[in-house]
Symmetry: none
Subunit: 237 residues, 4 copies
């Protein structure tokens, strides 16, 4: 059950006559595709207009400028992610299932939206210049962090999680493990001479990441009696 999102180019081709909201929406979705594919600077508004099946002038009519359209795109795409995250209902799942579900969802979402990943990467190239201007996005991720914190706490109480883990560090790790093989799929495939976009490799990666995360959460910190204790581990403490 993989929800479809606006990232696919499923913009209706027939330009409905005189349907303002429709046109606005078509422009926005065309913008998502264009900005994801070419970044902010690389995006061409005549291409967006063409893809939206409307006049370039319409884009200015509805969004005012390239920058404002771009910000609208950022908000839409982030909003979708946060919305879907909220639907995971992590608070209703047991700690292990919850973490695994989050990993699975994150990997699926990024895997299904490689161009959203590209958009993110581009926004970072711009040092967050536009995301910062958004009124909505910066406030939206608190619930997720709270849900993770809750999972970790419950896991500790139930004795299934052995460590005291920072929720943000954990989420950044989960995100990272699900992100780079998507964001850097081209350079990785080239430098390691291996197509890392093939389904078999991606399946292996999902298992690998879930085991990584769980092994960490469920094992205890290294100690003198730990089987993998040695001199090098001293540097970790």
């Amino acid at each position: 059950m993989r929800p479809r999102t606006a990232l696919q180019a499923d913009i209706p081709t027939a330009p409905r006559k005189r349907d303002p909201m429709m046109t606005r929406d078509r422009v926005l979705r065309a913008g998502i595709v264009e900005f994801c594919r070419h970044g902010y600077i690389g995006a061409r508004i005549d291409q967006i207009a063409k893809r939206a099946g409307c006049n370039m002038r319409m884009i200015y009519h509805y969004f005012g400028s390239k920058e404002k359209l771009y910000i609208a795109v950022l908000e839409r795409v982030f909003g979708e992610l946060r919305l879907e995250e909220s639907r995971l209902h992590l608070g209703h799942l047991d700690p292990v299932t919850g973490v695994l579900r989050l990993v699975e969802f994150t990997m699926d979402h990024l895997g299904r939206h490689p161009e959203f990943v590209a958009l993110l990467g581009n926004e970072n190239l711009l040092r967050g210049k536009y995301l910062r201007k958004s009124q909505v996005v910066p406030r939206a991720s608190a619930p997720l962090l709270e849900a993770i914190r809750d999972l970790l706490e419950r896991g500790r109480r139930e004795g299934v999680y052995a460590r005291d883990v920072d929720a943000l560090q954990l989420y950044v790790s989960i995100l990272s493990l699900c992100y780079v093989h998507v964001s850097n799929r081209y350079t990785l495939s080239i430098t390691f001479n291996r197509d890392i976009t093939e389904p078999a490799w991606l399946d292996a990666r999902r298992r690998h990441v879930q085991q990584l995360v769980l092994a960490y959460l469920c094992s205890s910190e290294p100690s003198a009696r730990s089987p993998f204790s040695n001199a090098a581990l001293a540097r970790l403490t």
Copy 2:
């Protein structure tokens, strides 16, 4: 011992007279900065010239085109990474120390070169179009993978590593864990309302990542008797 590299904007400002190799090098280093900061499309030739303290024409004299300069930049920056990796001498270290060393180095290198990370991100936005054209880069990463494979094998033989791990998966994970908080430091800082570039957070991250990796390598696969086994884990096997 953290070697400084060309990524910092430490290009001598005084345009030495009639020093061809010097000029070429200054252009290359100015190109690294400009391409890292603005990506391929956003980079401006005249800005590179200005930063290199030379005439725009010189760039074409030495590199022929924006594209060729960009490829030279990619090769330089990748070459540096691979060179430093080779100096880790992973083959001379015991398995645990070796992995920790690799994690440490990767985190340091990416942390010290956030703009190299941006360059990578941009090259992926372009779908690897230019990296693919390089004659050097695609061939350079085999040694690293071989070194990791060797570490894992020795760890297994010595009984310190419990799992049969794919070297590429492991390296992609290490890279990921060291990469995203750099590549996405702006969007993460904004969405989580927390400055993740501050040294304290980065130190915590280093420990977190090293523990994550080691916990995974040293623990055994989940089994029926495992303390953290439960229904959810069935999906992992």
Copy 3:
């Protein structure tokens, strides 16, 4: 009755407001002048824009590129020639009148459009690179050749023309005799130290060319009894 054509620089200077076809036409006519005067490489887009009284950008709006504008210019100028030729109605004239009419028209047209001649010369310098790309021009000259063929045949039947002449050879000769004193008027005037653009000389030339062509068509091939037969003529047969 000498129709004026676009070759003269009679482009209205006042930039009418919002008249797309007008603007397009003004660009085309400005292009004719600029390309004729400086050739393809020497022509400057900004000069064309200035002459057309519009923005450089408009040229790309209407024609797409310098090359496409140049091809449009070629097509316009050739089209004009072929159109006027078709209006001669050679088929309705008796053979002698027809040939004289064609000579007269060709000399007039080239004489009135020395810059079209320059344009032709330049296209040959480029080895026909652009004319070849035209969809229209290559097909347009068949009717003329057919009309000449008809004139020659009727002349033969009526006994007024003594020779069996190839229509293409004849037309190339007529064209040549009307062409070079225009195309090469500068070098000829310099090397022969004589202004060959003065009306008196041009009038003399017209008579000379008409007599040359008619003398050839009406006389019979040299034979043993021919008054101008001699040893040298042997080489002609």
Copy 4:
């Protein structure tokens, strides 16, 4: 027996060491090729340098500027033509043979040097701007005209030529008839959909032109009793 000229690209490839006159000559000959092929504006001095197997700086050393090199090229190429013309010794030939010889030579020379024709065309595009600056060329064609005048006069005296012909008009006609199918070979081939550079067509053309010229010279002016006299001829007188 077709004399070779500098127009062929027979520039020795080995850059002789320290042979000033040699280098100068190589530059000049490379310039002929480049200017002929691309015209004045289109010619690239780095291409000339490369073809001459020397440094761009040498061109400025020997010729001072692109313009001066171009003028030197004009003088060389014109000088060659006039030199060869003088070797025809028209004064020693009987009138018919002389004219035929001149036609033959002109057709051969232009046919063998299509790129010289292009150079001429280009110089006319520039309105003779550079040829005018030459000290040598403008004065060199008087002997040829004198020789033609002598041929015509002798022909009249001997009774073989029936008309009183202007020498310049005749020469311009001969030149024209030998010139356009070379200068305009591309546009003619395209517009008439026929390859006019094939040997068979050129052979036919030579015969055609010689007959055309001789028919004119040897026939008398049209009169009332002339077989080809009709109403239309009235306009010729």
